[in-house]
C-alpha cells in the first residue's frame, strides 16, 4: 500500500481549503491540523470522497477543554484513518466556551453518532444536525458538564470519605 506522506497530505489540504487550515503540526509521526470549525463537515466529506486520499474510516472523535485559550477553550478532535493508504491524521476544531456549537459529522460517518453524544455529555459541545443529542453516559438530570476542568473528580456530597486523609 502506498503511504502518502504528511507533507503531501498537508499540501493537498492547503490547496483545497487554503485559509481554513489555521495551524498544522507533526507530532510523533502524526500530522495534526487545526481548521476553522465552520468547515469541519466539508473537510471530512472532501477527505472521504477524494479518490487518492480516501480517508473513509473515522478512528476517533473526542472533546477537549483548554481553559487557558481565550475564545478557543473547547475543542473537538477527529482522528481519521485511510485504510488503503495506511495513514492516520488528526483534525482539531476549536470554539469558545460561551458558544460551543459545531456541525455534526454524522452525515459523513455513522460511527460519529455516539461519540458526539459522549462529547456533548462531557463537555457540552452542541452538534448541529445530530439526530439524537442527549446525554449518554451520565444521568439525564445532570446539569453540568463534568469533564470540564473547573469541576472536581470526586462527588462533593459523599459522606464516608474524609478529604483530609486523601490529601485534598
Amino acid at each position: 500500500m502506498a503511504e502518502i506522506t504528511n507533507e503531501y497530505l498537508l499540501q493537498k489540504l492547503q490547496d483545497q481549503f487554503g485559509s481554513d487550515i489555521l495551524f498544522s503540526d507533526e507530532q510523533y509521526g502524526m500530522l495534526s491540523v487545526v481548521i476553522n470549525k465552520e468547515r469541519n463537515v466539508d473537510v471530512l466529506r472532501w477527505l472521504f470522497d477524494h479518490e487518492e486520499l480516501k480517508f473513509r474510516f473515522m478512528t476517533d472523535l473526542c472533546g477537549i477543554h483548554y481553559p487557558d485559550n481565550k475564545d478557543n477553550e473547547i475543542g473537538v478532535v477527529y482522528h481519521l484513518h485511510s485504510l488503503t493508504n495506511n495513514t492516520h491524521f488528526r483534525i482539531k476544531c476549536f470554539m469558545p466556551i460561551s458558544n460551543p456549537v459545531i456541525k455534526s459529522a454524522t452525515s459523513v460517518f455513522k460511527g460519529a453518532n455516539w461519540q458526539e453524544r459522549e462529547a456533548y455529555d462531557f463537555y457540552g459541545i452542541i452538534f448541529e444536525g445530530h439526530p439524537n443529542l442527549k446525554r449518554i453516559m451520565n444521568v439525564d438530570e445532570m446539569d453540568y458538564f463534568p469533564l470540564r476542568k473547573e469541576y472536581p473528580l470526586e462527588d462533593g456530597t459523599r459522606t464516608d470519605k474524609d478529604d483530609k486523609y486523601f490529601g485534598r
Binding site: 485504510l83 460511527g111 473528580l153
Partner: protein, 400 residues
C-alpha cells in the same frame, strides 16, 4: 343472518409492543438497556441506553500519575486486561521515546496473545450458552483457569492484572511461568479441539447462528467497526499487521476473515484467531531472546529495591518518580493496539505535568455497539440476543 365483515389486514393499524431488555438481564452480558419495539415477534426498532457503569475513567486519568493509570486501563476490557495495560505502556513509551529491548517485546506479545485467547474463549463459550449449550462453557473454563495461573505467576493477579511497567516488565519470569506456558501450549490445543468439535458442526448451533445479525463491510466501516466484528464482515484490518507494534512483524500468522458478518462468521473468526494466537505464542516462546526485562529509563522505571536501600542515586530516582518530579515531555500522541474487540486506541495529551492533561480511550465496543439496532432489524428476540453476545460487548469498555 349477520353480514360478515371482511377486514383487509393491510388496512388495520399496526400496534407495536415495547419490550424492555435490561439493564439487568441474564442474557445481556453486561448492563446496558435495549428497549425493543416489536411487531409481534419481529423487532422493528431498538432504543439503547448505556452509562449504567460509567466510572469516568477519562476524568480520573487527569488526576493520576502515568503509572497509576495502568490499573484503570485494566478495567476497560476486563476479560483481556493485559492487552489494555500493554497498550497504555506503549503509548507512554511512545510519548517518552523509549526503546525497548527485544526480550520485553516478545514477552509482551506472549502476554497479549494469552489475554486474547482468554477473551475469545469467554465470548465463544457464551455464544454457546445463549444457544443452550452449557457443556462447552463449563469444559473450556477449566482451561481458561490455566491462563489465569500463568498471569498469577507473572504478576500476582488473575483478572485485573496491572502487568508490566512503563519501560518494560516489573519482574522477570521464574521457571514456573516457563513450565506453565509450555504445558499450556502442549495441552490447550487438544482441549480447544474438543470445544470446537462440540460446536463447530453442531446442527442445532449452526441453525441458530447462520444468518443472524449480518452486517455489510461498507456499513461496518462507516460505523467504525474494528476487530473480529469487522473481519467477520470481510475487511482484513488488523492493527497488528497494518501498524505493527512490539515486534509483531517478526511473527508469521494469518488473519481469519469472514464473508457475511453474521454471528457464525464472528464465531468462526474468533475461533480462527485463537488458533493463530497459539501459533504466535509458540513462535515467541521458542525464540524468546535473553536479556534485560526493562529498558534503561531511570526517570520512569523504578529501580530495584536493593538498590534503593544501598545506592544514593537509585534512592533519588525512586523519590523523584514517586513524587512526580521527573520531566515529562509535552505533546500529543495517539497509539492503538489490537485489543480483543478491535482497535483500542489511547489519545494522550501531555502538558508536562505529572498527570495527563487529557486522556481519551478509543473503545472499540462503544463504537461498534451503535450498529446493533441495524443488525437486528427484522430479527426475532432469540437472534437479537445471539447477535449481542457474538459482538462481545463488554460493559466496562462500553461505558468507561
Amino acid at each position: 343472518m349477520q353480514k360478515e365483515e371482511i377486514i383487509d389486514i393491510d388496512e388495520k393499524v399496526k400496534e407495536y409492543t415495547t419490550l424492555n431488555l435490561g439493564p439487568t438481564h441474564p442474557a445481556t452480558h453486561g448492563i446496558f438497556q435495549n428497549v425493543l419495539t416489536m411487531d409481534g415477534e419481529i423487532i422493528v426498532n431498538t432504543e439503547q441506553t448505556l452509562g449504567y457503569i460509567h466510572r469516568a475513567f477519562e476524568k480520573i486519568a487527569e488526576h493520576r500519575p502515568f503509572y497509576q493509570i495502568t490499573p484503570l486501563t485494566d478495567r476497560l476490557n476486563y476479560c483481556s486486561s493485559p492487552i489494555n495495560n500493554m497498550g497504555w505502556h506503549m503509548t507512554v513509551e511512545k510519548l517518552l521515546g523509549v526503546d525497548l529491548p527485544k526480550r520485553v517485546e516478545y514477552m509482551r506479545v506472549i502476554i497479549m496473545e494469552l489475554a486474547r485467547i482468554s477473551d475469545h474463549v469467554v465470548c465463544n463459550s457464551v455464544i454457546g450458552v445463549d444457544t443452550g449449550a452449557l457443556t462447552p462453557f463449563c469444559f473450556i473454563f477449566q482451561w481458561r483457569e490455566k491462563i489465569y495461573d500463568i498471569f498469577e505467576q507473572m504478576c500476582g493477579a488473575r483478572l485485573t492484572t496491572n502487568i508490566g511497567r512503563i519501560g518494560g516488565l516489573e519482574r522477570d519470569w521464574n521457571e514456573d511461568v516457563y513450565r506453565l506456558i509450555k504445558d499450556f501450549l502442549r495441552e490447550f490445543p487438544k482441549a480447544f479441539q474438543e470445544f470446537t468439535n462440540l460446536l463447530d458442526r453442531n446442527r442445532i448451533f449452526l441453525d441458530r447462528v447462520t444468518g443472524t445479525g449480518p452486517i455489510t463491510a461498507e456499513m461496518a466501516l462507516n460505523y467504525g467497526f474494528t476487530g473480529p466484528n469487522l473481519r467477520a464482515a470481510g475487511v482484513d484490518y488488523d492493527v497488528r499487521v497494518m501498524n505493527p507494534y512490539s515486534s509483531y512483524s517478526d511473527f508469521d500468522f494469518k488473519i481469519p476473515v469472514g464473508t457475511t458478518g453474521d454471528t457464525y462468521d464472528r464465531f468462526m473468526v474468533r475461533q480462527g484467531e485463537i488458533w493463530e494466537s497459539l501459533k504466535i505464542i509458540k513462535q515467541a516462546f521458542e525464540n524468546l531472546p535473553q536479556g534485560k526485562f526493562f529498558a534503561e529509563v531511570p526517570e520512569f522505571y523504578l529501580p530495584p529495591k536493593e538498590d534503593v536501600y544501598n545506592n544514593m542515586e537509585a534512592l533519588i530516582w525512586h523519590f523523584k518518580i514517586v513524587m512526580g518530579e521527573t520531566d515529562v515531555p509535552k505533546g500529543e500522541v495517539y497509539h492503538s493496539v489490537e485489543g480483543a474487540n478491535g482497535e483500542l486506541g489511547f489519545y494522550l495529551v501531555s502538558d508536562g505535568g505529572r498527570a495527563p492533561f487529557r486522556l481519551h480511550f478509543r473503545r472499540p465496543c462503544f463504537i461498534y455497539y451503535q450498529a446493533f439496532p441495524e443488525m437486528i432489524k427484522g430479527a426475532v428476540i432469540g437472534d437479537a440476543i445471539l447477535t449481542m453476545s457474538s459482538m462481545n460487548v463488554i460493559a466496562g469498555e462500553l461505558d468507561g
